[in-house]
């Protein structure tokens, strides 16, 4: 087993374990902080799969802004009764569905792609991704910027609409 595989397996265990802790933790802020660990480990996995630019974007956008936004929202919506159960009554159905989904997807992957190897022949540097993004993918990129603008304006309108009542 090569060093890359070993590091990947360690990162995978860290990512899955902290994701599980994030989704089961009783403390709300702890959930968000465990999610940071998950997203960071996934960014490490991206680097190991030769996608270094995507890894940096993951760190910047997810760890840098999404988690900060979530922590802000958790603090703004702090409830007075913090002792309420954090999971619904049908958590066992949810757990069963999650396990079924994971096993089903995993079995499909094993059946379809057993024995394939990632060789990393085309490395996703900022240069090559930028080349692809601004030549072949420029139309979806521009449409996406419109979508992002619309979503952010929508978010501002929604969060302002109740405040002047």
């Amino acid at each position: 087993m090569s060093l890359t595989e070993l590091v990947f397996l360690v990162l995978a265990v860290v990512a899955a374990g902290s994701a599980l802790l994030s989704m089961t933790s009783g403390q709300l802020v702890h959930s968000a902080l465990w999610l940071v660990v998950t997203l960071g480990a996934v960014a490490g996995c991206f680097v190991l799969m030769t996608a270094e630019f995507v890894a940096w974007v993951q760190v910047l956008v997810y760890v840098g802004s999404v988690v900060v936004l979530v922590i802000f929202a958790l603090m703004l919506t702090r409830q007075t009764s913090a002792t309420t159960a954090e999971v619904t009554g049908n958590r066992w159905i949810a757990a069963a569905l999650g396990v079924v989904a994971a096993i089903g997807l995993g079995a499909t992957m094993v059946a379809g792609f057993r024995g394939e190897d990632i060789e990393g022949r085309r490395i996703g540097t900022a240069g090559s991704i930028g080349q692809a993004l601004f030549t072949d993918w420029v139309l979806p990129f521009e449409i996406l910027s419109g979508v992002l603008l619309a979503a952010l304006i929508g978010a501002i309108v929604i969060s302002r609409s109740g405040s002047d009542r």
């Binding site: 190991l48 936004l69 309420t84 949810a94 989904a101 979508v147």
Partner: protein
């Protein structure tokens, strides 16, 4: 590196995210579950891109698009959650239905 490692990790993350979306009562943490599921998809896209050695870098570019969509989704979702909290003083999704 075997292609199965990232694929199985993404299956596990997707299952955990699905559990979080279905089981969590706090609306903000439901959104965290959605983020986890989107990250599982990103992992798949990057893995297949690296495996396929795509000339157009389709998987990695689509991953960037997914990250942007996820940022838009979390912004909009949190705005809705804050509006809900202002209206009902709760973010408990079980309590909202009653």
């Amino acid at each position: 590196m075997p292609l199965l490692y990232p694929l199985l990790l993404s299956s596990a993350l997707f299952g955990i995210g699905l559990y979080g979306v279905l089981a969590r009562r706090n609306a903000v943490l439901m959104l965290l579950g959605v983020e986890l599921m989107l990250n599982a998809v990103n992992l798949n896209l990057v893995a297949f891109d690296a495996w396929f050695a795509d000339q157009l870098h389709t998987g990695q570019v689509l991953t960037l698009f997914t990250i942007a969509i996820a940022a838009a989704e979390i912004g909009l979702g949190l705005a809705i959650v804050l509006a809900l909290f202002r209206a009902l003083r709760t973010v408990d999704v079980d309590g909202v239905g009653r």
